[in-house]
């Protein structure tokens, strides 16, 4: 049952081949059996899930069901859930239970989806390996000695191991796409403002965007459809109707022009990854896509720009965790200053502290112009590169997602810069606010890798269609890690 697509699961429910309760129980059983070794869930909400499943079954029986009604999912533990702890991978929020739901939680609940639990992640979504989580690292189902990528490591590991059919995730600099590539999944980060950020714990507000990791473009499209839309509670959400992401998936992609940025194909990519990406280009060419080399000249500046903007916003967003109203509070502080220092010192892990310090520094008096303001100007140039390409007849852009396949635990832990370079291909889309996705394109020494598509604002439907057509012509995305296949 765990290998079925969302459409197949929905058909099974509709045709009463199984109930949502049975489906939910099957997944809960898998979590019980397998997650001890993977650590993808930080909280399993069995009771809540079964209640939702029963409600979904009632809706199905009453003929009041949508496509997603009764389908289980995992929620990244960055989305607030009423009555269920939302820890965001941090000791700071180890005991935090929000009195509100994130808008996307509300929307997916309303669609009738069944939340199996909350998924592990890097602390406050800061990391590319899921090694910074207070709840411990997550293993890559394809090789448990390797990382699943990050920050949505729990989301991808759970879907890749069949511990949920689909999962929500967030992407600030690649946190959906890079882990999707490392675990043979399809992950999409939509246009900034397409999915509400309300109730999603902020890392870097101008870059954060929620999305989906799934086992196919079709599954991703179906869930993203339900998550998307304007939300009056998020001032940066865009008031614009949501395109139909699902019904256009059968369209031909013949004659589309996809740009290949020469900067993305320069040195830096592992040879095996390069070979797989080039094969994907060949496949798409056979499907009638035209490829053209383009230039995104400012893309080498993405990483340094990002590591000014994101920490700056993070240092500000995380100022609220002061031990006063909620979250971790140090015991026995003698003064207000001591309360702040110790609560934050104890509650935040090393990577979060490092980014708060970088962010505080770049916003400080006398450094603001040199760092933050300068980074904002470069950000504009990076955006202009994309704008020029799309104005020049480019429908989508294709490149690698990650430089290499999943690395071993601890490999980059002592070298933050090496870790930061994991995001080299993914960051630009966040800085520009454009949608981007990663999808599987084969294996290197048995480990999965993926390629990335980027599109103009609100071109999710086109992007997903290209991905779907590619997946109709290939079977990489249908491969399972042996241990979890049956």
């Amino acid at each position: 049952m765990h290998k079925l697509s969302i459409a197949e699961l929905a058909a099974g429910l509709r045709e009463k081949r199984f109930s949502s309760r049975e489906l939910t129980q099957a997944y809960l059983k898998r979590i019980d059996s397998f997650d001890g070794a993977i650590n993808s869930y930080v909280t399993v909400t069995a009771e809540r899930a079964l209640k939702q499943a029963d409600a979904a079954d009632a809706r199905i029986a009453a003929g009041d069901a949508g496509l997603l009604t009764g389908i289980p999912l995992g929620q990244k533990d960055i989305f607030c859930t009423t009555g269920v702890r939302t820890a965001c991978g941090s000791q700071m929020l180890d005991k935090f239970i929000a009195p509100y739901d994130a808008t996307i939680v509300e929307k997916l609940d309303a669609a009738g989806m069944v939340m199996l639990g909350k998924l592990n992640m890097d602390e406050f979504a800061m990391g590319s390996s899921n090694e910074t989580s207070f709840y411990g690292p997550v293993s890559n189902p394809w090789d448990k000695t390797r990382v699943p990528g990050g920050s949505s490591g729990g989301s991808v590991a759970a879907v890749a191991a069949g511990l949920c059919p689909v999962a929500t995730a967030t992407d600030t600099g690649g946190s959906i796409r890079q882990p999707a590539a490392l675990t043979n999944l399809t992950g999409i980060k939509p246009t900034y403002g397409r999915v509400s950020r309300y109730g999603m714990i902020a890392f870097a507000s101008s870059l954060d965007q929620a999305g989906v990791v799934a086992r196919s473009a079709e599954d991703a499209a179906q869930v993203l459809q339900a998550m998307s839309g304007f939300d009056a509670k998020d001032s940066t959400s865009v008031e614009r109707p949501v395109d139909d992401l699902v019904s256009g998936l059968g369209q031909s992609i013949k004659g589309l022009t996809i740009g290949l940025p020469k900067e993305y194909f320069a040195d830096g990519m592992a040879p095996g990854v390069r070979a797989r990406v080039e094969e994907a280009i060949a496949t798409l060419t056979r499907l009638g896509v035209n490829f053209r080399e383009i230039s995104l000249p400012n893309s080498p500046l993405s990483v340094p720009t990002y590591y000014v903007v994101a920490p700056a916003e993070a240092s500000s967003n995380l100022a609220r965790f002061d031990g006063v109203r909620y979250g971790h509070r140090a015991e026995g502080a003698k003064s207000l200053e001591e309360l702040y220092k110790r609560s934050r010192g104890e509650g935040f892990g090393a990577e979060v502290q490092r980014r708060i310090m970088i962010g505080t520094y770049v916003l400080s008096h006398g450094y603001y112009d040199a760092y933050y303001l300068q980074a904002q100007k470069v950000r504009r140039l990076i955006y202009d590169d994309f704008k020029r390409a799309f104005a020049d007849g480019i429908d989508l852009i294709l490149g690698p997602t990650a430089t290499d396949v999943a690395f071993k635990f601890g490999q980059n832990s002592d070298d933050p810069v090496a870790m930061y370079l994991n995001d080299i291909y993914t960051i630009a889309a966040n800085l520009a606010g454009i949608p981007a996705m990663s999808l599987p394109c084969g294996f290197v020494d048995g480990l999965p890798t993926g390629f990335q598509l980027m599109g103009n604002f609100f071109s999710e439907a086109r992007m997903l269609n290209v991905a779907h057509q590619y997946q109709q012509a290939t079977d990489f995305h249908t491969q399972w890690p042996t241990e979890y296949a049956s």
Partner: protein, 483 residues
Amino acid sequence: MSRIPEGWEAVIGLEVHCQLSTQSKIFSGSAIAYGAEPNTQASPIDLGMPGMLPVLNVDAVKKAVTFGLSVGAKIAPRSVFARKHYFYPDLPKGYQISQYELPIVFEGHLDIELEDGASKRIGITRAHLEEDAGKSVHEGFQKSSGIDLNRAGTPLIEIVSEPDIRTAAEAVAYLKKLHQIVVYLGICDGNMQEGSFRCDANVSVRKVGAPKFGTRTETKNVNSFRYVEKAIEYEIERQIEVIEAGGTIRQETRLFNPDTGETRAMRSKEDANDYRYFPDPDLLPVVCTPEYIDAIRGSLPELPDAKRARFEKDFGLSDYDAKTLTSSRELAAYYEAVVAASGAEAKLCANWVATDLLGALNKLSKDITESPISADALAGMLKRIADKTISGKLAKDVFEAMLNGEGSADDIIKAKGLVQITDESAIIAAIDDVIARNPQQVADYRSGKDKLFGFFVGQAMKATQGKANPDALNRLLKERLAG
């Protein structure tokens, strides 16, 4: 008021925090009523809980623009919210959402009236929108403090003046004028005790003619006009003393103590926070189109200066009366309603409203909106003066009775039989009776003691229970006394 010593000059700039009287907070739907139980008006947004996002209250923007247009300021077509960071328990997010580089209102001015009647223009550098912080509560706690976040997120405009003010008296005149305007506009309730209108004073001194400003101090939260005056006077005196004794002024924040009338150092510039301002990525820039600004301009109420000029011109009032009657929008409206409803002479109406009514309200510690006599009721009485039913003197009694809630002027006149006697034969009869009963005084009067005339008026009035028409009484009394 103490004087600035010869050869010295003070330079003063004021920052006023004015709470906007919107229904809800600037970035959340919570109510902003004063005095609610602690933390009952604090939503997850106000508490700065994880994942919560601000949504701008457009009414706060409208009120800020209304203010800007009323002080001749420019309205930014695009203004930007920025985060101002510091840690404090009453600041839930660890930053205050404010405006920094691009405020919504800039380059305005206010004309104040000096004691000698001259006018002086004080520049307004800017007015920006921001959220208020909460409050720390120390009473009722042992070894700890409470935090009340009801006030957190209340919309404010911070109005920053140019350093154009030279004396404490000018500072007070500026503040009073500003206060009057924001209350007139209905954008602030002006309640200084509840903190709706708060002032920080930047003060420095220098020798007259010195090219540069001296080092300034900022005195925080001086919450009455009198305290502002005292705090500034104290600060000027203190700074001059320090400099004359060979010392230097430290740039610092000071606190005013109303009990001693002194200010004391709170923190120096070295201890000041680096606020690390940057544009708030959760909020879009505030865009004010010319159409939007024009629509607000079109709905601005008449401001005090314009109203005062109109009262002088249209009603022929003295400058003093016009100023008094326009001191609040409600009072001016009351006065205009009295004039319109009574048809009586505008000057007469002004006397009754500005002198009798305000005097009575003052004794009752009430303001015009709480007046026991409505404008219509007062107009009813003025009608009876105008048509000579009652004299001005009788009117005082009617007015008293109205204050006591004894009914309308007509009811009271009828009930007390206060209708003026205009029948001359009745008046003559009374006069003749007085003359007959006071032969000695008549003789004295006729031999040149003119002052006794008042005595006869009084006696005759008494005889008519005060109801005689005073003009007729005077004329007839003169005739009869002449013999």
